[in-house]
């Protein structure tokens, strides 16, 4: 029941915010903030009350009611460690999305908060649902409000960016729908029991080629969202045109739904096919890491630059997911969280700069440290996080991923490591172009109290994640061990496992 509450609170608050905004825009902001706070407290409450117990059941809470019984569709939610972490991230960043829009969004405030909360509700649904139809449903629910966020409150080229985002994600989502439906009918044909229930569908047996096709359907949706390199072109446009809150949610949360989908659906549903695909997926991951880093280095638009760093960082996710070992998977989960925070913070900084100087062009920036030292310090922290400085969360994430992948694909790991070097280059370039150099004549106000209130908790959490990552890892440990042992069984049954995993050398 508490799981349903997460979604209902957000949806109701969204509608409320829309209604009250005509009278008082500030009230709409407070309502949104309160709803997100309530949800965050709920998740923290759950986290503390369910320490990583050693019970065999990884599910902390479950909720299920019948929705469309004729199709075997139920409104089925379940929470495990991974979902819990993702939810905490969602509400944590959601609060900042509301706060950062406090000054930036002055037009149509009600509708803005409605969309914001509904995107978050969609994301929450995606992280919770255990019914594949419902999953697709939420997958789409998070899309439309995001489209409006970009299309109405975005920057100059917003309409194009919104279109592109929408069509890319819709097209890939439809492929996933086809795969879901095929899976549904295959399972129904085998058991005579037609259902979209995740746990039932896990038991479906398929021949290799069917599994391959269906996996590609799911993969389409997730690698576009992640994004993996040939399918990333929507991302720089959407990120750079979206309002700050939109960029924050896109980078911090929407991309994570892709990673979540890989971990939750692709690998458990199609273990064998995923194993076959692994070398290629890892290769794409490495290409993404390097390509994203090189393009990030070449950008002059600050938001676009940060967007490309996302492409690069997300390369680690797909690399780690398909490495199939415990360390890499822990790294992936860490990466999902730390990247959400660090990149989100960089977008917030870019937004704060845009509010002050009305440009995102880094060639017309420089020397801001002298004018706004607090902002400079915050910038430094997140730039260092982005380049993977030990002591900050991102280092733990990328380091674990690399150690993990080294065991299965050493050559690729070497190239991935080069990506980290490249990350140093582009990250320091941000620092140099924006904060160092000759100070401008005009006044640059330093961070306001509200902005400090956003960025300081983010700094604290990224440092905390860097120093004490263990609680996070404990939370997802069970899930990871389950998955890895599953894969290992399959590997040991396969004809020639070494060749397959180490296929690319």
């Amino acid at each position: 029941m508490i799981l349903l509450l997460f979604i209902v609170i957000l949806m109701v608050a969204g509608v409320l915010a829309w209604i009250v905004a005509d009278q008082s825009p500030v009230l709409a902001r407070w309502i949104s903030l309160a709803a997100l706070f309530a949800n965050l407290l709920l998740t923290i409450f759950i986290w503390f009350n369910n320490p990583v117990v050693d019970s065999p059941n990884p599910w902390i809470a479950q909720f299920s009611v019948s929705w469309i019984p004729s199709f075997g569709i139920s409104f089925s939610l379940a929470l495990d460690g991974l979902s819990l972490l993702m939810l905490m991230l969602t509400f944590f960043l959601g609060i900042f999305a509301v706060l950062i829009s406090w000054k930036e969004i002055q037009e149509r405030v009600g509708f803005f908060h409605f969309n914001l909360l509904w995107v978050l509700a969609g994301i929450t649904g995606v992280f919770l649902t255990m019914d594949l139809f419902l999953f697709y449903f939420f997958w789409e629910v998070m899309l439309i409000p995001m489209y409006f966020l970009i299309g109405i409150w975005g920057h100059e080229n917003r309409r194009y960016a919104a279109y592109k985002f929408f069509i890319f994600t819709q097209a890939s989502g439809l492929l996933m729908l086809l795969a879901i439906l095929s899976l549904y009918f295959i399972h129904g044909g085998q058991t005579g029991f037609f259902t979209f229930d995740y746990f039932q569908l896990l038991k479906t047996t398929m021949d290799a080629s069917t599994a391959r096709w269906l996996m590609l359907g799911f993969l389409a949706a997730f690698i576009v969202k992640l994004p993996v390199v040939p399918f990333h072109t929507w991302l720089p446009d959407a990120h750079s045109q979206a309002p700050t809150a939109g960029s924050l949610i896109l980078a911090g949360l929407l991309l994570k739904t892709g990673a979540y989908g890989l971990i939750r659906f692709v690998i458990p549903l199609f273990p064998t096919a995923a194993l076959e695909l692994a070398p290629y997926a890892m290769l794409l991951g490495v290409i993404g890491i390097l390509y994203g880093a090189i393009l990030a280095f070449a950008q002059t638009d600050l938001k676009r630059l940060v967007a490309y760093t996302s492409v690069s960082h997300m390369g680690f996710v797909i690399l780690g997911v398909f490495a199939f070992n415990e360390l890499a998977m822990q790294g992936v989960v860490m990466q999902m969280i730390t990247h959400g925070i660090s990149t989100g913070a960089l977008f917030i900084l870019a937004g704060a700069l845009y509010e002050r100087i009305h440009t995102r062009d880094i060639t017309s920036m420089g020397g801001f440290w002298a004018k706004a030292p607090f902002m400079g310090t915050v910038g430094l922290v997140f730039v260092l996080a982005s380049l993977g400085l030990p002591g900050l969360g991102n280092f733990v994430a990328e380091f674990l991923t690399l150690i993990g992948t080294w065991q299965s694909a050493p050559v690729l790991t070497i190239f991935a490591t080069i990506g980290i070097v490249a990350a140093t280059a582009y990250s320091l370039r941000i620092m140099q172009k924006v904060f160092l150099g000759k100070a401008p004549d005009k006044m640059i106000p330093d961070l306001s109290l509200r902005e400090k209130f956003i960025l300081v908790p983010m700094i604290v959490s990224i440092i905390w994640l860097g120093l004490f990552p263990q609680p996070v890892m404990n939370t997802v440990k069970k899930l990871i061990i389950n998955q890895i042992s599953n894969e290992q069984i399959i590997t040991s049954n396969a004809v020639n496992p070494d060749e397959k995993i180490n296929g690319i050398k």
Binding site: S70, V141, I144, Y147, Q170, A171, L175, L177
Partner: protein
Amino acid sequence: MELSSINILDVLPGILLVTASLIAMLSIAIRRNHKLIFGVTTGSLLGVFIYLIIYATNHSFTVEPLFVIDGFGTFITGLIVLSSLAVSLLSYAYFEQREERKEEYYILLLLATLGSAMLVISKHFVSLFLGLEILSIALYSMVAYLRKREKSDEAGIKYLIIAAFSSAFLLFGMALVYAQTGSMDFKDIGIYMDSVSNNGLPLLLIAGFAMMIVGIGFKLGVAPFHMWTPDVYEGAPAPVTAFIATVSKGGMVVLLVRFFGQINGQHYPVIVLSFTVIAIASMFIGNFLAIRQNNVKRILAYSSIAHLGYLLVAFLAGGALGVEAVSFYLVAYFLTNIGAFGVIAILSDQERDAENIEDYQGLFWCHPKIATVFTAMLLSLAGIPLTGGFVGKFYLIASGVSAQLWLLIIVLAVNSVIGLYYYIKIIAVMFDKPKAFEALALRPRLYLINLITLVVLSILMIWYGVYPQALIERIQDFLK
């Protein structure tokens, strides 16, 4: 067949519709009064609908040799009657501010409804043709009803010529089929085909079917027989366009489903192939041409071509799931289209319909309610979750997947994406910054009755998107 053996209660809906149109006609003879005739029309449509709900559920009956009144037919009849009711509700305000002689419109509307209701229960070529002609002839005049507008006249004449032309094709086709099979009853034709199918279908029969497909294709407006659709949609008054898009085409679809089911169309590769080609062509042509339009009515016209292509997927999938899918999709499609054209009707003024895409610029900021309704309708057409259109499309894809029509399904998915582009285009315009104030003067004052109709339609549409189970159960109940 003696008349006495027909249970009068079973054919009462048809009789009621005839009576209603007669009363409407007489009332004009006595005194012209828009309100009165509007009341008579809506009242009788509502009456028929209530009658269908109360009496006709799970009531199967045949009127030999012409009609079969079964669950499917009754369900669709109810849908048609309800749609006509919605159209007439939307028409009142629309015609009130335009034509001076607006009363005859309602007679035509009732007759067209009758024709469509006959189509969906016919099981014989004669009743098919009679129903079709009652529908078409009423539609000719409805399309051209606004005589003072050039486009309306043009559309009327175009529709007249093409519909007559396609009727001729249909008749010729039926004659050939009759010549070969010696029967005009759907079932007997099916039995005949079954008996000869081992040696392949005779050429004469195939020629007959080809002719019929041309005729039916024209009425449905599927590619390559779609040419009339955009012009007629554009020229016809907005409520009439809504009627053509839903009641007229829907009736034909249902007839096709019935005929196809009776002759076991799935077993004959020739027929399946031709409908597959038509379906794929309709999807692509409809969607691609819609992208290039700037006129909202034309966009919706092309999108309707594509949507009939989608429907043909479920139609080809056949089986119980296919019929369910068609029924559900029709409900969602009817709701959505009437809603969309209702929005156009509500925004139109005396001079012209609000059909240019510029008319919608910034609509969300000056008429948020209407824009929200329109957005919901467009999202439903695009098949986005939370709307009836999504569940409808899901149903279609499900039926296609279960019948393993992979090519059609992939084409459908690709086209859904193409379709998104132009639906989003309209939505983006509505959410744009409003234009200068002179443009807003185009909007007349809102009529409460239209607004209520639209709101009811959208609530239903969203309800069926969020909780489709009720409707699915209802449909399964009827189809039993």
